[in-house]
Symmetry: C2
Subunit: 466 residues, 2 copies
């Protein structure tokens, strides 16, 4: 008979103590294949617990396959000959260090946004309203493309501010542009060669490459992607940033846009992926319409994000898919649910529809313009030794140093001086084209009153390397 030590003072339920005891006996080999267990009635009376308790322990053991019930006979130990394989494995308790981004005193990083002006209170208020009003519905599964009302809000915003023409049905909401590219790779298949501007946004380059696309780098000339090179390549997709080329900052003129669209029309499977990543911020005149605005044949797949305009952690991006392509995409898309929570969709939807987004953008545009202008002004200390490139748009500009400097030393000097800058050459798709002495200066994260100081530090770093 079993000698189970039942401790009714323990936190562990009695049935579980019985279960654990028998399991151990099996594991230790004290109970082997074909052994018969005591009847539940017998065991219950032996250890003075209720029969239900023993039954529960036995059921658990049966469920997990340690013992089996034979009708009209009783409980028997199963074949555990391979059980020796089972041991708990040691868990790696040494934690990898969290990747920690280095903090710079003078942060000319081209990424990130100025979060000091994020409308936390408004966001919180909308969140509260959403949670109170629409409670239960928002916790049920939503539409796979994103909630209709939210897509409507985005449609209207895109039409008004970017000239994008589409219906709600063509909009897909997704958690981040990289996710949308992933989805797109499922819709189009990866049996495409993608022409990419060179230099380009390397993060998209890496994602597209990782997804299995073959990449064809195409030179960026004054008007953007070189059309002749594109025509000569056998690319069927072209990934472009026409409103504000990354990283050079050039705007693709209308003539080049037309050429690009006619390139796309020449092949049934040709598409243009327009990444409109920071078009909200233009400091001169009105925003330049999206390339999608000129597309009459359903050749432009338009991708945008709220990461730049609101906050990096708002993982909400959108993709406008041409109508015909959308029809074909439905079957693919039926496998994937929307990756953005409905609560976030509702909050951002209201933020758009009630005009807060526009106000926020206007405010941020002013703030960034001030920083931009102040940076340009401060850079005057370099005199004729630098040239500022790129349109007055976006959250970074490009400088070209005209004096001969030792670049490697310059970059080391910056690092030493806690200055974060990024060399243009880092944005070239391999093989790296040496684009000497061009640097990106982002100004979103720079404190306004630190700009002159930062530029002065940069100036000193530069002239110790001449």
């Amino acid at each position: 008979m079993f000698t189970i030590l039942i401790d009714s003072q323990k936190q562990i339920p009695i049935y579980q103590q019985i279960y654990e005891y028998i399991k151990e006996e099996i594991k230790n080999g004290n109970l082997v294949y074909q052994d018969k267990l005591p009847s539940s009635r017998g065991l219950a009376s032996h250890i003075a617990v209720s029969r239900n308790t023993v039954d529960l322990a036995y059921s658990q053991l049966v469920s997990e396959g340690y013992i089996e019930a034979r009708p009209k006979s009783g409980y028997y130990v199963c074949d555990m000959s391979q059980l020796v394989d089972i041991k708990t494995h040691p868990v790696d308790t040494v934690l990898e260090k969290e990747e920690k981004k280095q903090q710079y005193e003078y942060d000319f990083s081209f990424q990130g946004v100025d979060m000091n002006y994020f409308p936390y209170n408004r966001w919180r208020k909308l969140l509260k309203e959403v949670m109170i009003n629409d409670n239960s519905d928002l916790f049920q599964i939503g539409h796979r493309q994103g909630d209709f009302e939210f897509r409507r809000a985005i449609k209207e915003y895109l039409h008004q501010s970017r000239g994008v023409n589409c219906s709600e049905n063509q909009i897909m909401i997704g958690a981040g542009s990289d996710y949308l590219l992933m989805l797109l790779s499922r819709i189009l298949g990866t049996n495409h060669k993608i022409a990419m501007e060179n230099p380009t946004y390397l993060s998209s380059y890496r994602t597209l490459k990782e997804l299995g696309f073959e990449i064809q780098p195409i030179e960026v000339k004054e008007k953007g992607m070189d059309i002749k090179q594109l025509e000569e390549s056998d690319a069927s997709l072209a990934y472009v940033t026409p409103s504000h080329q990354f990283p050079t900052g050039t705007v693709m003129p209308i003539s080049r846009r037309i050429q690009l669209l006619s390139w796309a029309r020449k092949g049934e499977n040709r598409y243009i992926i327009e990444d409109d990543y920071d078009s909200e911020f233009r400091y001169l005149g009105k925003p330049i319409p999206a390339l999608q605005n000129n597309d009459t044949e359903g050749k432009v797949i338009y991708i945008g994000t709220f990461s730049k305009a609101i906050a990096p952690a708002i993982r909400i991006s959108y993709m406008v898919v041409p109508k015909e392509l959308m029809k074909k995409a439905k079957a693919t898309l039926s496998c994937y649910s929307c990756t953005v929570s409905r609560i976030d969709q509702a909050v951002l939807g209201r933020f758009l529809q009630e005009g807060y987004f526009e106000r926020h953008i206007n405010k941020m545009r002013k703030i960034y313009k001030t920083k931009h202008d102040r940076l340009v002004k401060a850079l005057a200390i370099f005199g004729d030794d630098i040239r500022i490139l790129g349109e007055s748009a976006g959250l970074h500009l490009v400088i070209e140093l005209k004096t001969q400097i030792n670049e490697k030393r310059f970059e080391e000097e910056c690092e030493k001086g806690s200055i974060k800058i990024t060399a243009m050459k880092e944005f070239f798709i391999e093989p790296v084209k040496q684009e000497s002495s061009k640097y990106l200066l982002g100004f979103a994260r720079l404190r306004e009153d630190k700009i002159e100081e930062a530029v002065e530090k940069l100036y000193r770093a530069c002239y110790t390397c001449v």
Copy 2:
């Protein structure tokens, strides 16, 4: 000279009116390639606006590529010969109907959860706390695998309740299991044949197939996936639901788990994908540990979700990747940011850490158990004509009708009577194996006090088809 009608009463800024006018003139062919524009000073004085205003309009036209500035000469119209291509395209204003799910009076659907008990107030309160305390940080970009604290909360939960052994570094957070499968397809590559239980959760089947995997259906026997068939196949991945096989409801016993693990050990690239989709709900004894608990060789990729336990719209799932595989995966993963918003991570993290999740699960387990038991009891009216299959776990059970019925008519009768049931045969991977007269009865969405009525309706529908 231009005759621009400037209307200073209009909402539209004056510079924009000038810009629009000139753009139209170019589009209409009134201004052609090489035409010289009036100087900004001249035009300003002509139409009586400031020179800055005209400069702004010209800059915009230059930016968009309609005109160009020639140094020391003036502004000239660009080559617009292909401009005829540009017209605004009609937008589809007829909206597709939103897919609307049919509402059933007696909803035995196997999907969905009972949302009447969702702790809205608690969730709202945590959300409020999170928004107040950790504001700004949460709007900056987070860790690509998910925030460390949140992963720690999940690690602890999984260890305690599912016996899963892992470190935070092995956990990936993602917006939905379908997204995690997508990510997994990037990590493993799709050059694999996946063995899947047949019948299985078709939604995963479709996703894996869509992702490009070749699928090898393997029969589900009493103990789960047939190991002999698996060994004979050339599959290198096996997708299983060991804790509660979907849809049959069987639990994979320890002996089969060991066999499965030794199958995986036989090939370097072999892995088991364990989908632990509803293991929180077990009504008898304690939960059965996850298969991952028995894995000593890093062969089990464990996937779970909060959709069943909390709410379908909580798009938060997790994947535990074996340590060695995680090392290899880092490069792939570096291309993708986390798809779950940091606010949601923070709220759910607290929900877990402060014990609310456990309490919620305990409450729901009781509620579902009551429904489950009441359903089983109500089904007694069928007498010996049905058999109830599957473990007392999860949110559905399976009935097998032993009387000969005309299935097609039975299903039509149910539809007519507003009864939602799902036939087992629908879960077979093609070619459909006729698994006659088995049906899934979900009970999560059934109102408790309607269960007897629902079963009675089902009974009548059944007996009109004998």
